[in-house]
């Protein structure tokens, strides 16, 4: 009986019901779209922030004081501690291994440079040779396969004219300032000397970084190791990791946490917990967060997420307004029907249940359509802005359906109450 009445009412006024469902679909579509986008925005932006490059610096513990300006170490080769290159694969075995986007070891060697045939004459020039990886394949222990990393990942903003050196080849890339000073161009050969050892390197490109590297020579790590006689070693590691912005919880001292809190901290991708896990895997290192990147990123991420949540709140409000307004109107249009039902002896509860059932049915219908449309909208928005569509979240379906039903209920309850309170006779007389 109940179902028959509801179905009947749909059959009699298909157009009006369709309109209400459409309004609901629209509301849920916008709610779904903004929610999917905002739930993803932290991850997406964190990934975008990786274009800033590394956010963790790993020097050896108990090192002598580096003579460092802008990331280039000017210490002589003999002083200071070194770290084993072979351990690096372990970085991809930590709990948050998938958040490690890339890492690059560095070994800086002070060198004397002689240009093959050149304008600089025979006078040897002093410079620094930075040994590093460009695109290096690191074996991951415990059957983890291999992982390609290097400055292609940790310093994506460096601009190169020419091509990068090949791993392990006797090639190098010159910093733009150094190239300008010496007049060396790609294709020429230079000779670098450190102590008794010397190497001939083919220049394959000129790189511009806007930092101290512009004054240096960048070569494969192997070359720097040969030149400094530190086989299989490096002095400084830069790590680019996806992290969660710091909050008051992450700033607490892990040593003073309860076991439950400690687990929560360990299993959150805070920069401090990732540092801690890296330190567990690499003995003899110290892990420091590069505050310029980490702080700036955390600050901007927090603000933008807050902004997007507020905007989403506004979207939900607007959706609720649209739905409530339509739901309210449909109830008011049916005053006569309600009067008739009352005259035929229906109780308030029955009438209420009948109308709410109808509203919920519309909400469900419109909600499902809206959810689909919202996902499509979110895809378009995500593709246009980030080039990647947001993750499909099924959890949103019950959430938006619940929201739609709830808002439709609230929107129709108020007018419904007023009408139910009315006497049947005047309503039926059309007053």
């Amino acid at each position: 009986m109940f179902i028959r009445i509801v179905v009947d009412s749909f059959a009699r006024q298909p157009r009006r019901k369709l309109l209400t469902a459409l309004a609901l679909a629209l509301g849920t579509a916008v709610a779904t779209a903004t929610l999917s986008v905002v739930l993803d925005v932290g991850d997406r932006l964190a990934r975008e922030f990786r274009s800033l490059g590394a956010n963790l610096l790993v020097p050896p513990q108990a090192d002598t004081l580096p003579l460092e300006i802008g990331g280039v170490d000017y210490r002589p080769v003999a002083s200071g501690a070194y770290l084993p290159e072979a351990d690096l694969g372990k970085l991809k075995t930590i709990f948050w291994r998938n958040n490690i986007v890339g890492f690059t070891p560095f070994l800086d060697v002070p060198v004397e440079v002689r240009v093959d045939q050149g304008s600089a004459g025979n006078q040897p020039l002093r410079s620094t040779l930075i040994g590093t990886w460009y695109d290096h394949s690191v074996p991951v222990p415990n059957g983890g396969g291999s992982f390609a990393t290097g400055i292609s990942v940790t310093a994506p903003s460096w601009r190169l004219a020419g091509r990068w050196f090949k791993d392990g080849a006797a090639e190098c890339v010159l910093g733009s300032a150094f190239a300008k000073r010496t007049g060396v161009t790609a294709g020429q050969k230079i000779m670098v000397r450190s102590g008794q050892r010397s190497l001939d390197l083919l220049v394959t490109g000129i790189v511009s970084t806007g930092g101290q590297e512009d004054e240096a020579i960048i070569a494969p790590l192997d070359m720097a190791q040969q030149l400094s006689d530190h086989q299989g070693q490096y002095r400084r590691l830069l790590v680019s990791a996806l992290t969660k912005p710091e909050d008051t919880f992450s700033r607490r001292d892990p040593g003073a946490m309860t076991p439950v809190e400690y687990d929560r901290w360990y299993c959150s991708p805070y920069i401090s917990s990732i540092s801690h896990q890296m330190q567990e895997e690499l003995p003899g290192v110290e892990v420091r967060a590069i505050r310029q990147v980490a702080e700036g990123e955390g600050r901007i991420l927090t603000r933008v997420s807050a902004l997007m949540w507020l905007v989403t709140g506004a979207a939900l409000l607007a959706a609720a307004l649209a739905v409530a307004a339509t739901a309210g109107t449909t109830v008011l249009e049916r005053a006569e029907e309600i009067g008739l039902m009352k005259a035929l002896g229906a109780g308030k509860l029955v009438i209420g249940a009948f109308f709410l059932g109808e509203q919920w049915f519309i909400a469900l219908l419109g909600g499902v359509i809206g959810y689909g449309a919202g996902l499509a909208l979110a895809r378009i928005l995500g593709q246009r802005v980030f080039g990647i569509s947001p993750e499909l979240r099924l959890i949103l379906l019950p959430v938006v359906l619940g929201l739609a039903a709830g808002v439709a209920t609230i929107g129709s309850l108020l007018p419904l109450r007023n009408i139910i309170e009315l006497d049947a006779a005047p309503v039926l007389r059309g007053e």
């Binding site: 916008v30 903004t34 300032a177 000073r181 700036g296 807050a306 902004l307 905007v311 109107t329 802005v385």
Partner: protein, 375 residues
Amino acid sequence: MFWRVLWRLLRASSGRLALALVAVTSGAAVCAALLNLNLDATDKLTSEFRSLGANIVISPEPSANAETMDTSLLQNISALRAPELIAAAPYLYISAQAGEREAGVPVIVAGTWFDEVARMNSWWKVDGQWISDRGERTRCMVGQQVARQLGLAPGKPLLLRYGSREAPLQVSGVVTSGDSEDNQVFVSLAVAQELSGLAGRASLVQLSVRGTSRVFEDMIQRLSLAFPELSVQPVRQIAAAEGRLLERIRGLLFGTVFLILVLTSLGVLATTAGLALERRRDVGLMKALGGSVREVMHFFLAEAIAIGLAGGVLGAAVGMLLADWIGRRVFSTAVEPRLVVFPVTLALMVLATLAGALPLRLLGRVRPSEIFRGE
């Protein structure tokens, strides 16, 4: 006559009208707040990005074979009076000895202007005190690694030596940055110049410039023209990330705000459409009294415009306050009210209410007798 009827019309159904007014007002408030926020977002975000630090570096032209440059360019930079320029800090790097003669440790000493550095490097964590005076001669700040190696803490003395010259200083604060700065000692530019004998020289100047990519490129152009003998370089890492992120965030905000504007307008439209359909009885009466369809329509359109205007004005004002509140919450500064938001919101609301009154056209077909029979 027209106005009197309109007034009666509005008064008679005050309950429903109040509801419609609430709907239009809240719709307008949401629209105005988001529009205002959207317009101000670029400004706010570019300011936020300055927390990333310097994005332009001026250094001696490499082919000139000079390691330092004249600091007189700093006056020229401030003479440019560019409002986009947040801070400009010179640096003079020298490799000095720290400590007494027999226990000296080589260390990089950076001479700079502390007041500008404080504005540029907001991410520095300082234990102890920042130095705020540009010409400070007796105190210095040390990197965290330097402090650890030399056993320094705020308040302790530190002797810097360069050749035969000495500078006895007191540590004011310990800097933690996680980068090269941890291994440096920061003194004021004048102290470093005296110590090294390089009076009036600096190794490089860092600038922090606020603005979109275009403003940024313009600034680099202007600086290159102003200092042809120097090399003006963007800090690629910062500049590239900034441009990319700004574009992304703006796109996202614009997309969402656009969706919400459409939705809000439709919500307002639905409300007024409901209102219009309720007017059937009034239309019937007016027609029975001999009003023409056109005349009757005028009343209802005027009613719709009145609601749209009233709700729009009220809502736009509320929305501006809302935007201001959001700005304070999110960016901790007020959002500048943009006047263009006002007419746009108003127009949007009036259009939506008018569109909502469109079903009234159907009322032209209404036959009074049917209405009064209650059909």
